[in-house]
């Protein structure tokens, strides 16, 4: 060690070898698609959090009676209502699929890059399919 700050950078692998900890990707040096997807997981999470307000509004409206129910039914049928619902559906399925991969990653599986390349495509495909399927069922 040449610098005292290196002490923070030392770790052990699971088999006990001493290693320098990897540095996280630095946005000013490079950016790749998986970093964008990771940010996307956080952004969609926050978007869904805002969407829960409409879920609560819906439940409160159903409990409050026919007039309040008519109000939220009207709002969700305006163009803005449809746009919000579509955005939340897509955000929800994206967050859902990436979330499943995170749970798998937590078990230490599927970390190698070829698998990440494939799971990324599966996530994007599944998000599109689930979103379209949701709207197909809702509108028919």
């Amino acid at each position: 060690m040449t610098d005292i700050r290196d002490a923070q950078m030392v770790g052990r692998t699971s088999d006990g070898r001493l290693v320098r900890r990897p540095l996280s990707g630095h946005l000013t040096v490079y950016i790749n698609f998986d970093m964008v997807m990771s940010v996307g997981h956080r952004v969609t999470g926050c978007a869904i959090a805002v969407g829960t307000i409409v879920m609560v509004w819906f439940l409160v409206a159903v409990s409050a009676g026919e007039d309040r129910y008519a109000t939220i039914s009207w709002f969700l049928r305006t163009p803005i209502g449809y746009l919000l619902l579509f955005g939340w559906t897509a955000a929800l399925w994206y967050h859902y699929c990436v979330g499943i991969r995170h749970l798998i990653w937590d078990t230490g599986r599927m970390y190698d890059l070829p698998t990440v390349d494939r799971s990324r495509i599966v996530i994007l495909g599944a998000t599109a399919v689930l979103t379209l399927l949701t709207w197909l069922i809702a509108l028919t």
Binding site: M1, Q8, V10, R17, L18, V19, R20, P22, R42, G45, C46, I48, A49, T52, I53, M55, V56, L59, V60, V62, S63, A64, G65, E66, Y69, A70, T89, L92, Y96, G99, I100, H102, L103, D106, T134, I137, A138, L139
Partner: protein
């Protein structure tokens, strides 16, 4: 990962001694674990909720009321509400802690999000209970 050659470590130091001061030993695990537990609960609950909503789309008031008031649906709605808002406030807390660098603003946002989540969850739960209580 860089190789370990050239790293000199005082191996006489205990692991505890090396770890001390390098990170938290407080509630970090519980936060991480609750995030995972709630996400597992939300996998089936979300599927059920979205599936139900696609069938409720455009339904008249009486249909929506009867659906939410059915005991099995009321139970699943309460579970969904609990898991959703717990998961949500844990997640937004991480985002706030990562991106808001002014401690006082960060603290205010985290507490405000937790309070808002709790109130939204309670409002939704009371609504579900009221619907269930008025369903004959």
């Amino acid at each position: 990962m860089a190789d370990a050659k050239g790293l000199k470590i005082d191996t006489m130091r205990s692991y505890l001694g090396r770890a001390r001061g390098l990170g938290t030993a407080k509630g970090g695990f519980n936060h991480w674990w609750m995030q995972r537990l709630t996400s597992l609960a939300l996998l089936p609950l979300t599927l059920w909720f979205v599936w139900s909503l696609t069938h409720l789309a455009g339904a008249p008031y009486a249909t929506a009321h009867a659906w939410a008031g059915k005991p099995i649906n009321a139970i699943l709605l309460l579970a969904l509400i609990a898991a959703t808002f717990e998961h949500m406030q844990l997640g937004v807390q991480v985002v706030a802690e990562d991106y808001i660098h002014t401690k006082s603003i960060q603290w205010t946002v985290v507490v405000a999000v937790k309070a808002a989540s709790a109130l939204l969850a309670l409002a939704a739960a009371v609504a579900v209970l009221k619907i269930a209580a008025t369903t004959g």
